[in-house]
């Protein structure tokens, strides 16, 4: 006999001692949704975590209290986790040599010189 948990959510799972697999009933298995948080209008939405919900509307409702009840927030996005396409972990080698390709860094351009020149010229005009 399993000791009943004090948490009704655990009891509802009908877990058994013997480790038999739990049968998942229709509608029990909710989707997870990734949550993106926007701190101010025009700013990027940044990924902050995920929620479980039966549909996108409730995911948005849950996300508001999970991720936007303390800090500043003006909007949220939710997207079904299953709709995100990602590379496999073993494909990480595609990015392995990035660190060597310094010729792709923007630091090679001598922009500051031009900016300083421009600032100087406008200051002179004043």
């Amino acid at each position: 006999m399993t000791q009943p948990s004090l948490d009704p959510r655990v009891n509802r799972l009908h877990l058994r001692d013997s480790g038999e697999p739990v049968e998942v009933q229709e509608g029990e298995n909710w989707n997870s949704f990734e949550v993106f948080h926007q701190e101010k209008r025009g700013a990027h939405h940044e990924h902050v975590g995920c929620v479980h919900a039966p549909n996108a509307q409730l995911a948005l409702v849950f996300a508001k209290e999970q991720f936007a009840r303390r800090k500043k927030c003006v909007n949220l996005w939710v997207v079904r986790s299953a709709d995100i396409l990602a590379f496999n972990a073993e494909d990480e080698d595609m990015f392995a040599n990035n660190a060597e390709k310094t010729y792709r860094d923007a630091s090679g351009f001598k922009v500051m010189e031009k900016i300083n020149q421009f600032k100087k010229s406008t200051n002179d005009k004043k």
Binding site: P8, G27, H52, Q57, L58, V61, F62, E65, Q66, R69
Partner: protein, 254 residues
């Protein structure tokens, strides 16, 4: 009855409703159906207590009332003006959700009207609470819609919850003729009867969209009494529990 007496009655009713509803909803903390919902429902319960506090503050600062904590926790049961609807135990989640849905749409209507109140302290408060209550109703609508589409048993439970809640919810708008006439004449708010009509319109449309039948108002007996100090047997035990810590040392600073 003076204008201030009438105002105090209105604000006490509103605040007591919010306090008791907030306390009841907070009883779900740790027991909600899923973690995300547990957090959302608890968070909204805190909002309700905050609304009560803000109203008790107005009573104290503008109408010569007592300190909000003392007033909230140390009154006798008969001096509370909450409606029976908010006093009832939570029961199952269908009842709690339906109560939250009907109650918060009533709040929406009430605070919408109070944004134009002739009583100045209510205007900024009504403006401030607008967004919070909007979220509460968004949450309630999303759940009601979802559960009405989630199969036969789920739909039947929502309809049953609505049938049980509806006469109780009419108690939110229990008439108080003596105070009501003064408040309407003074332009504080348009009165309970008008709020109720607007609420019925709003709730009818939302129920229809979810496939629920809102009972006819004249087919039920509204559950009144709370605004006159007659309460259900459930209020006294709630007050004892809610005030237990406060009563240990009413002078303590927190």
């Amino acid at each position: 009855m003076t204008k201030n007496d009438a105002l105090a009655r209105l604000l006490t009713s509103m605040a007591d409703d919010a306090l008791i509803q907030g306390h009841r909803n907070s009883e779900w903390t740790g027991l909600g159906p899923i973690m995300e919902e547990d957090i959302a429902f608890s968070s909204m319960a805190q909002d309700k207590i905050g609304h009560a506090w803000a109203l008790y503050r107005i009573l104290q600062e503008d109408l010569g009332g007592q300190d909000p904590d003392t007033f909230a926790f140390l009154r006798n049961e008969k001096d509370y003006r909450s409606c029976h609807f908010v006093e009832l135990p939570n029961g199952e989640y269908d009842f709690s959700l339906m109560r939250h849905f009907l109650f918060d749409h009533a709040e929406t209507i009430r605070y919408q009207q109070l944004r134009n109140s002739s009583f100045a302290p209510l205007r900024p408060l009504a403006e401030k609470l607008k967004g919070e209550i909007k979220y509460h109703t968004l949450h309630a609508n999303a759940w009601i819609t979802q559960l009405c589409r989630a199969g036969e048993e789920s739909y039947a439970r929502m309809q049953t919850a609505l049938n049980i809640c509806f006469p109780l919810a009419l108690g939110i708008f229990e008439p108080d003729n003596e105070a009501g006439e003064i408040l309407t004449a003074e332009g504080i708010y348009p009165g309970e009867a008008i709020l109720k009509e607007q609420w019925l319109d709003r709730v009818y449309n939302l129920c229809a969209a979810a496939g629920l039948n809102l009972p006819a108002e004249d087919a039920v007996t509204p559950v009144y009494g709370g605004r006159k100090g007659y309460h259900t047997e459930y209020l006294q035990p709630l007050l004892e529990e809610m005030g237990a810590v406060f009563r240990m040392d009413p002078q303590a600073t927190w």
